[in-house]
């Protein structure tokens, strides 16, 4: 479980002030809000990439890259252009474990590539594959780590609608198989409603954590639900009102 208490962070002036929220081990929390509100700053603060104050506990201990396994899927996917798809997935695991992949881990990488439809491009370089495929490689790399905390930073934003729906479905299938505390940072309200259990709404005037109004519906049914559009419209109005 991720427990954030009174977190403040920023560069010259604090962008995030006294922020508190929790994400259970089998939960996806969507962090939504307009651009420039501090979503990426929150992510960097959680990962200790920038100085911050307050406490961030993961599974009962202060969050640390050394003691926890953290996985990040950034907006540009963060793939190494000079490594093949297979090596991009395996290398993260190798760095985390400080040793070469065992046979079991190699099998895990192969299985993840099969699940996410990457087997045919295993030996290709990221520059030679499509954006949708790159996104799935980044997801495979994150899942291969079997992380304590998974962070998705606008990970579906660069995909067009058809690819996005497929990528979200593949992500959910894999996530259900190995659920973990997950933070989904997005500016897309529909994506937040489809994927998350809870919402953290960030605006310039404050933040609020609340249950996803669609939490009662299975995630797979949400995209077809009329309630999705109603909830999205309501949420959009609320965020806009908060912003003013």
């Amino acid at each position: 479980m991720l427990a954030v208490n009174a977190l403040s962070a920023g560069y010259e002036r604090p962008v995030i002030q006294q922020l508190s929220f929790e994400v259970a081990t089998d939960e996806i929390l969507a962090v939504i809000g307009p651009s420039g509100v501090g979503k990426s700053t929150l992510l960097k603060a959680l990962l200790q990439l920038i100085p911050s104050s307050g406490s961030v506990m993961l599974n009962g201990n202060p969050i640390s890259a050394k003691t926890h396994t953290l996985a990040l899927v950034p907006q540009d996917y963060g793939l190494l252009p000079w490594q093949t798809v297979r090596k991009n997935i395996g290398l993260a695991l190798q760095v985390k474990q400080h040793h070469r992949l065992t046979t079991d881990q190699q099998a895990l990488v192969t299985q993840l590539m099969a699940t996410l439809g990457l087997t045919a491009i295993a030996d290709q370089y990221p520059n030679a594959i499509s954006g949708g495929q790159r996104q799935r490689v980044a997801l495979a790399r994150a899942f291969a780590l079997q992380p304590d905390l998974l962070l998705l930073d606008e990970a579906f934003s660069a995909l067009d609608l058809g690819l996005k729906t497929r990528a979200q479905q593949l992500f959910l299938n894999q996530w259900y198989a190995h659920p973990t505390s997950t933070l989904l940072i997005t500016h897309d309200l529909q994506e937040a409603l489809v994927l998350s259990d809870q919402l953290l709404i960030m605006t310039k005037n404050g933040t609020e954590q609340r249950a996803n109004p669609l939490a009662q519906l299975p995630r797979a049914d949400r995209p077809q639900s009329a309630a999705l559009f109603a909830a999205e419209a309501t949420l959009a109005k609320e965020v806009a009102a908060w912003q003013d």
């Binding site: 890259a65 190494l80 760095v95 370089y125 594959i129 499509s130």
Partner: protein, 249 residues
Amino acid sequence: MARLKQLVAVLLGLHLVWWLAAWVLNRPILPGPVTVYASFPNLLHEQIGWHIYFSLYRLFWSLLIATIIGVITGMVIVRFPKVGRYLDPLIYLTYPMPKIAFLPVIMLLFGLGDVSKIIMISFIVVFQVIISVRDHVAAIPQSLYQTFTILAASRWELFCFITWPASITGIISALRIALGTAIATLFFTEVYGTSFGLGYFIMDAWYRLDYPGMYAGIIVISVVAFALFGALNLLERLTVKWQKDEINA
């Protein structure tokens, strides 16, 4: 095959212009292609092989030294910003200086032999390597480092898996630019304290008013440079496989 055809077309065009210019000028200072190529057998008597060897020897060491210093400095500027803040202005301040003006000082300190020639060429091209490597390392997306930093990757691992591979293209493109400058500088440095090297060969032919021999030397230096550029392209193809077949996705 298409590239070979383009090369042949360019060479034919160049020779045609040369032949026309020689015909119009009609003076010994610009002999035509036929006269120059007729003097090629003499090159063997004049030990052209040794001249090429000494020029390549000086080029190799000067480029190697410039690359080692340039790559380390370029990386340090970006990866250690506290040091970079002092190095960056220093580089920009000294880069535009006409370094060849320091030749007398270098000759005085390091003599007239190969050492002063190698140091002079390195001194001139090192700035191009520093700036190219610095720009390539600075252009590495932060997301690459972040993805590995949160996996508790050491500085060495970040260097091996990210900084070094990202710099290779920068090093090769820097070498490509530096090679042209290095050959031009080599010519200057081979006019003193030596009786071997392509620079010496060309100047010696000029002093003897052997214009066909002088142009033959210029052709040889161009062919050597062309071969070196080809070798760099081959090196790039072998080391930067991942840049091929890029698609718009």
